[in-house]
Structures are given as structure tokens and as C-alpha cells.
Amino acid sequence: MSAWPTPPPYSLVGKHGVSPDFTHDERARFNFLAQLNTHLAAQVVPGNARAYETRVKPAFEAEHGRAPVDRHEVRKAMLRDSYFQTWSALRRSSMELRQQNGREVVLRQLDKLNAKAAALNHQSPQLKLNPDVAIPAYIRKVDFHCMPGGYTTELAADDVSAAANYDIGVFATTGGGLGCFNDGAGLAVAQWMRSRYPDFNPKRILDMGTGAGHTVTAIAQAFPDSEIISVDVAAPMLRFAHARAKSLGVNNITFMQANAENVPLPDADFDVVLTTIFLHETSNLAIRRIMAETHRLLKPGGLSFHLEQPQYAGLPLFEQFMRDWDALYNNEPFWTRMHEMDIEQLMADAGFQRDKMFQDKAEGILDETIFGKPKSDVEDFGRKAAWHLFGVHK
């Protein structure tokens, strides 16, 4: 058992070369939010199901003479319920506090932080930025998770502020649910690969939509002999991810500014092509192009897989509705459409064979000395560190 409380104090968050300095009160703000989010998930969320079962669904049935047929009908009915309104207003308010708190830490020391990253990135052949890469509409039009400016806004030269703010706030949003280095998903992917393919040592791995690099850096640490290419369209994220990885002693990743729909690399170039927690931030046409690129870039016999929250098919309507909350009220608009797609059809359309597809699960891996033994109790509808993994062999 861990001696630390859940969630643990923010002072335990892992430090790296592009960590901003924190004042006491800045850490205290994130401590408050981690506690608030934990409270909302454990104590307040369950009342939504109760409100639905005891008054919202009966009222809907009385009015329509039938039960709701899809999650959209559930949502329209729940939006009129005072309990759901209260929880939603609190959760939205918590997300806005989180953004302001993170941006305060980062923006007050913007120049110093950008200089730290620039020193780590200076003339590195493993950071390949390309200002000619067009930012696709699905990134340009959305400030994901209510981050003002999204992933791509640059407030100064060599800016890393968007990524630094993303990095420092994950702990507060998830109550530490992704670990002190926010890499619980990367550790989960690495362990999943090792246990499913114990003798597999891929020479080249492509990670698409790499973001701040939390996941790919953990994968690179687990596969130190692999050569990894990470692509993303957002320069601030790539600068940060590269600097962070360097400062953690990870040298087997090249970060490249490119669109995952059109990666400037040759056919059959990779043993593994993967995405983690990325596809839901694209669009209906983009996800098809990304799948086609996956097929093109993968060697025959290669492995591709994608880590996401579970698809909606087969889930109760109420759970589908709750999982849509972040899509509609925390700026993840494609989330709702992506989770209703037939992903095997998507892979088949890209040229993959159905008999070589698989679906699996992966749970986040955390440091037990701080977080204790893993426990699967609180379901926060889309924010739990437990994912669905789908993929295919070429």
C-alpha cells in the first residue's frame, strides 16, 4: 500500500527539462482541482444515473410512450434535469479553472520556458519542423479541452506554451490518473506490446499525432533499440516533446512536423504504425486518410494499432450519453462521431484484411509506490485510464 493520499500532492509530479517553475500557490491550485475532480467523479457523477433512472427516463416514457432510442434523445432529456445541470456546470467550471491555472504558470515565465526548450532543441537533427505544413481544419477550428489557442498557437518565437500548459494540467484533470509523468498510457502500450509479442523487436516505429510526447517517450524507453518517428502538425507540441524527451535521456525518437494524412516518408517504411488518444481529434475524412497512410507506410507483416476510449456500439445508451460529455462540453467534437464508427470497416476500407484485425484492452500503468495497487473503481466516462485498443497486421 502506498503511504500517499489519492490523489497525491502536486509536488510529486515528475520534473523534466521543460518543466516550468511553480510557486507554492500554483501547486495548491492544482491540488484543489485534483481533489475537486476526484470528488466530482466519485461523489457527484453517480447521481446522474440515478436522476436518469428515477425521473428523466420515466418522464420521457410518459411523454413519448416509449424509451429513448439513442444517446441524443437521452441527452436532450437530461439537459433539462437540475442534477445533470449542476454537475455539468461544475465540471465545465473546473475545466476552465484548470486552463487558467496552467496558463498562469506557463505564460508568466513564457520567455524563460521557451529558452529552456530552445537550448535542448538547438540544431538537433531529431527535431524536423516544417512551417509549410498546413494546419488541418480539425485542428485549426477546435480549442481541444477548452485550451485557448489549441495546440498550434504561438505567442512568441520558439513557443512551447501550448504543450507546457497541456503537460502540467493533466495531473489535475485526472487526479493523477496518468501518473507523475503523464505516461500511464505509454507504459500500458509498451506492456501490451511486450506481453502480446514477447519476441518482437521492431526496427522502426511510427507514432502519429504525438502531441506533447508523453506516450511515445514511454514507448521509446521500453523499446530503446527501436528507431521511432513521431509526427504532428503542431510545432509547439513537437518542440516541447523533443526537449522533454532529450532531457529525460530518450534519444531514439525523431519528431517531425507533418500531417498524418500525408506523411512524407516512403511506402513500407515501418514495422509498427500506431496512434494513441489521437484519432478522436481528427475528422470523418481525415481518419480515413490516416488509415490509408497507415496501410501505405506499414511493411508487409507489420503491426498497426490505435489506442482510444471504447467504441459506443454495445454500450448502454446512458453510458454513451455520458461519454459524449467531453465531446460536446469540453471541446472534443469528433469524439462523438468517431466512437460510433465501425472501426473494422474503417481498416478494411484502407486495404487491411479482416482476418488479421484484433481488438483488445489496455489499462494505465502507474507507479505503485505513489498510487498503490491499481484499482478499477471510479468510472469517469471517458477520462478513466483504461482504453480500447484496435489494430491489424498487414
Partner: protein, 124 residues
């Protein structure tokens, strides 16, 4: 030549993200008040944590600490556990009304209108 205007970083911290903000309460004014209240609630928690840090530094017997010592303070597991416990109680206090609404939902038999009970007591 025009001098480059420095960033108003304080204004930037609270910038609005793209997209229309959802308002959940029937009257948006209620939601505005809630958002203000939660921001103030956060700041009360921050003040309390700072006071707790100062008390713990004082308990170490050295009154000669600086603001830098406060910024550098990191609780050990015992102190972190006590601070987390205070936070849990604090949030439970602030959100008491939500807890009571949930209890009313969970046990409707304990949620009878008091006027109805008064009528009943007048009869029995």
C-alpha cells in the same frame, strides 16, 4: 518605429476557447455566479494550504524562513495525507447542497414535503 507591445499575460490566462460556451442552467446568470463562486472557493483552498505550509515550517522550530522556503515546501506522506483530508472535508462543505440533492434522489421516502407531514400529524 512602433515598439512591440508586451503580452498581457494575465488577460491571456483567462482567454475564451474557440466555440460557443455551453450554459447548463436555465438562467445563465446562475451559471456565472457558480463559476465565480468556484474560482473563489479555489482561492480559499490555496490560502488555507499556504497557511498550513507556514504552520508546518514554524513547527520545525525555525521562524526564520522565507517566501522561497514556502515555495519550495513539499509535504511528506503524513502531511500530504492530512492536507488531502482537509481538502476532502472542504469540498464536501462547499458542495453540501449537491450531496443533499443526491440523497433526496437516492431515498425519496425520506424526502416527503414537510407540509404534507404537518397535515398528517394534524390527522393522527
Amino acid at each position: 518605429m512602433m515598439e512591440k507591445k508586451p503580452l498581457d499575460w494575465i488577460a491571456l490566462t483567462g482567454a475564451k476557447p474557440l466555440g460557443k460556451r455551453p450554459y447548463f442552467f436555465d438562467d445563465p446568470a446562475v451559471e456565472r455566479v457558480l463559476a465565480v463562486t468556484m474560482a473563489v472557493a479555489q482561492e480559499v483552498a490555496v490560502l488555507r494550504e499556504r497557511l498550513d505550509t507556514i504552520e508546518r515550517l514554524l513547527e520545525k522550530g525555525n521562524a526564520d524562513f522565507s517566501r522561497a522556503d514556502i515555495d519550495a515546501y513539499a509535504p511528506d506522506p503524513a502531511a500530504a495525507t492530512e492536507r488531502a483530508e482537509w481538502s476532502r472535508m472542504y469540498i464536501a462543505r462547499v458542495l453540501r447542497i449537491v450531496q443533499q440533492e443526491l440523497e433526496a434522489l437516492n431515498t425519496p421516502e425520506n424526502n416527503v414535503d414537510i407540509a404534507a407531514i404537518a397535515d398528517e400529524l394534524g390527522r393522527i
